[in-house]
């Protein structure tokens, strides 16, 4: 085999592909996301030998502290939140590659310190290292940090790649999302930008694509001719905890529907991509979003439900209502539950309603996609005592017990032809030995390698907000009115009206 100049012949067959030498800069390095997810994810990558062979981490935050303070913070974060018991030598080795800079995010001149620190690392390793900026701050700082990176000339490098990883939310409505895009694009090219929706890093979410596009048997029925409707549920049994400040500003629609649930919808409804290449996959996802018409204010009242939980019982314990939660303003009208009826207007899906529901303090924690097929055209079995033939349901469970189940009609043992539904189940946990990596491990590696497949593209964000923005505006105008549901229940009665006669939400 000849050695081609532009190919590395040694990577064939390797599970862990090389990642270019990188300096990772985390803005908001002392924040909660960094503590719970990013630093433990970096440790696990180091443990597996998956980090770039030359790797540095510079933590940036407003807090003034030393490198050692930051290393102690990182050590505690890894010890507390790593999915595996840390190996002391690997952890110390990783901490040795960490340094810290206390820079107020709006302090433009101080970003020069960051530039100098990165240059010093390039010098130490006698080569320009790629630079990846991870914006893990409150969203109002995204434009400030991005512009200050540019002001200091840190957004480009003649001999290395520069990338920016941006955490959600990408705006709070269509207008703010577009403003943020404008700022980001004034500094970085789209190919340098990696917008994280960590749902896409979950193995089970990626498995939706594997399920659809690696199995021939489902494709013939995956359309309006056989599918009656689709339900996508992201239910949580917990309340808002200590997140009142964020949650009361966001609400269920912004928190989960605009990003995670629309991602699930696109994966279920997209056409098969020609290849699993980033833009080909994202092209197909965007087409789905663009086929959902933004609703008019009148339509919003008919196609959405918003509600919030009142006091009730959850898990056998008394649970406060939303407005009694600590930090929630008394006059809050934020929804903790959102249900939507959407339709994808294309050849495959025309006429198939897609129901989305999410909420806090519901009866159970589950994230799943339920695809309900149409009933059989003629029912030959009608014996007494038969539960009867129910339409088949295909359930893709994202969490907690990841798997696929298919409900089928089966004969009850006995002399008469009585039918009841049974489940055919497949659980990922029983069929794979590997522990799923945390979503952030995969996403951080992909960003450093420059693979954008599992990141949200600019036009995807725009299309998501184009659907959600009219709903937000109608809700702000009180349409439909905010209703209530008791904590620990499956949600408001209005949601049952939304799904319509003859259809039922999957039990929670």
């Amino acid at each position: 085999m000849a050695v081609a100049a532009k190919e590395n012949p040694l990577v064939e067959g390797l599970e862990r592909l090389p990642v270019p030498p990188t300096t990772l800069v985390i803005f908001g390095a002392t924040g909660d996301l960094s503590r719970r997810k990013l630093l433990p994810a970096l440790y696990n990558l180091a443990h597996e030998g998956a980090l770039p062979e030359l790797f540095n981490l510079i933590g940036v935050s407003r807090r003034d502290q030393s490198d050692d303070d930051f290393r102690n913070f990182a050590r505690e974060a890894v010890n507390q939140f790593s999915r595996r018991q840390p190996d002391d030598q690997v952890l110390e080795g990783l901490l040795g590659r960490m340094s810290y800079l206390g820079i107020p995010f709006d302090d433009t001149p101080n970003y020069a310190k960051l530039g100098a620190a990165m240059d010093a690392l390039d010098e130490e390793f006698s080569q320009p290292l790629n630079r990846t900026y991870y914006l893990s701050t409150a969203p109002e700082y995204f434009p400030v940090i991005t512009e200050n990176i540019k002001e200091n000339g840190l957004h480009r490098h003649e001999h290395a790649e520069v990338k920016a990883v941006i955490e959600k939310p990408f705006g709070t409505d269509l207008e703010s999302a577009r403003r943020l895009q404008d700022v980001v694009h004034s500094v970085f090219r789209e190919r340098q930008v990696f917008r994280i929706d960590h749902y896409l890093g979950k193995e089970t979410v990626q498995n939706v694509m594997a399920f659809r596009f690696a199995n021939y048997m489902f494709e013939p029925v995956w359309n309006r001719n056989y599918i009656d409707h689709i339900q996508i549920t992201a239910a949580e049994d917990i309340g808002i905890g200590t997140r009142a400040g964020y949650y009361d500003q966001a609400g269920a629609l912004r928190d989960l529907v605009q990003n995670h649930m629309l991602q699930l919808l696109t994966l279920v409804c997209m056409e098969p991509p020609a290849s699993f290449e980033a833009n080909k996959v994202r092209d197909e996802k965007v087409k789905v979003l663009q086929a959902i018409e933004p609703p008019t204010p009148e339509q919003v009242a008919e196609m959405t439900v918003r509600a919030r939980y009142t006091a009730g019982m959850a898990g056998g314990e008394e649970a406060k209502g939303y407005v009694e939660e600590e930090g929630v303003p008394e006059d809050s009208d934020t929804e903790t539950y959102a249900a939507l009826k959407l339709e994808v207007h294309n050849w495959r899906w025309a006429g198939v309603p897609i129901f989305l529901r999410t909420g806090k303090r519901l009866a159970r924690k589950v994230t799943e996609i339920a695809v309900q097929l149409k009933p059989v055209p003629h029912l030959a079995f009608a014996s007494k005592g038969s539960v009867g033939v129910q339409p088949n349901q295909l359930i893709l469970t994202v969490q907690p017990n990841e798997g696929v189940s298919l409900s089928l009609g089966a004969k009850i043992p006995g002399a008469t032809m009585r039918i009841r539904p049974v489940n055919m189940e497949f659980l990922y946990g029983t069929s794979f030995m590997s522990q799923s990596p945390e979503a952030y491990e995969r996403l951080i590696l992909d960003a450093m390698r420059g693979d954008a497949t599992l990141f949200t593209r600019n036009d995807e964000v725009d299309a998501q907000w184009s659907i959600i923005d009219p709903i937000l505006k109608a809700w702000d105008a009180g349409q439909p009115p905010l209703t209530e549901y008791e904590a620990g229940t499956p949600g408001p009665a209005a949601a049952d009206e939304l799904i319509g006669e003859g259809r039922h939400w999957r039990p929670l």
Binding site: V3, A5, V19, E48, E53, N401
Partner: protein, 350 residues
Amino acid sequence: MDEVWSERDTTPARIEAALRDIVTEHHHSDHPFVPARVLNVVVVVDGQFRGEIENRFERVGRYHPSRLVLCAVDDRRTTIDAWAGVGTDDAKPVPGHIAVARERVELEIGPRHLAKLDTIVDPLLVTDLATMVWAPHGHTDAINSLRRLAQIVLVDTQDEPDVAASLDRAAELAGYAYVVDLAWLRSTPWRERVAAAFDPPALRTALGHVSAVTVRHRQDSLSAALLFCGWLSSRLGWKPESLAQRGDGMFGHARARRQEVEIRLELADQNAPGLAGVTIETASGEAVSLDRAPGGLTAHRRFRDGAELEWTVLGASRGEGGILGEGVRQALLRDPTYGPALACARTMVT
């Protein structure tokens, strides 16, 4: 193991029935366990050394086979004694989550059973799951007997004192099954790191000018060293020649497109089996070295102008338990580079 069954002088049919009963009992009990359905593994061991192999399986972590059939061979035995059990690592499953159960069968058999071992083992395998067989103490007759059941054969080419024979046997087995070689897996981190060291586009061209490869290895790990050199040869299009003994090590050449490549295998003192270090040099004076170090590998790069750079490549040691676990995991993957590497390695010891 939570549920166990055992019987002396038993038959495969009775063992299989007992396993079914145990699993059914599990379903009817309060235990929220679901049987794992990934891989059958059949291990044939000398009865007197079974403890060592059992200990290794204890350390594979989550990479337990779904159903392990351990056949312990005792020279004096003429009947079959059996023990079967089902268990899980999750003593207290998280509410709302499943706990995955694994099944284990231990057979005590005699030499007379080996030639027809397939007829004993067949009823004990989970249908439709891939089956991997492993005979760490030889028992070639048992492996041959299990051919029709096995899609994967686990070997450790460093187990045999005669490395050439061991590599030949791996090649023979590869004729009918997918071979997972633990010696190959011991070289994986080294292969990954060498690939990474030459991955920056500016450095890739150096792969066309490699002039020497030195591999340092523990005395019993010659096959891992040969497979590493075989991998480089096959990936870079070299034609290796037979290596000669030189001192404690081996020395020889491979023919690259434009140059000769020196290959040196050197002994190193270390506790863990496998490689201790590698150095790759180019005709222009560049060199990359990797050596075992606490918390990973020490990397050393010498540039063309003589400048030098040293750093640590992070990564935890997997240990021998981890290597076996990796072997079990690899059973369901396919590495297209092992076969060509094995072919080159065999050339170096002919």
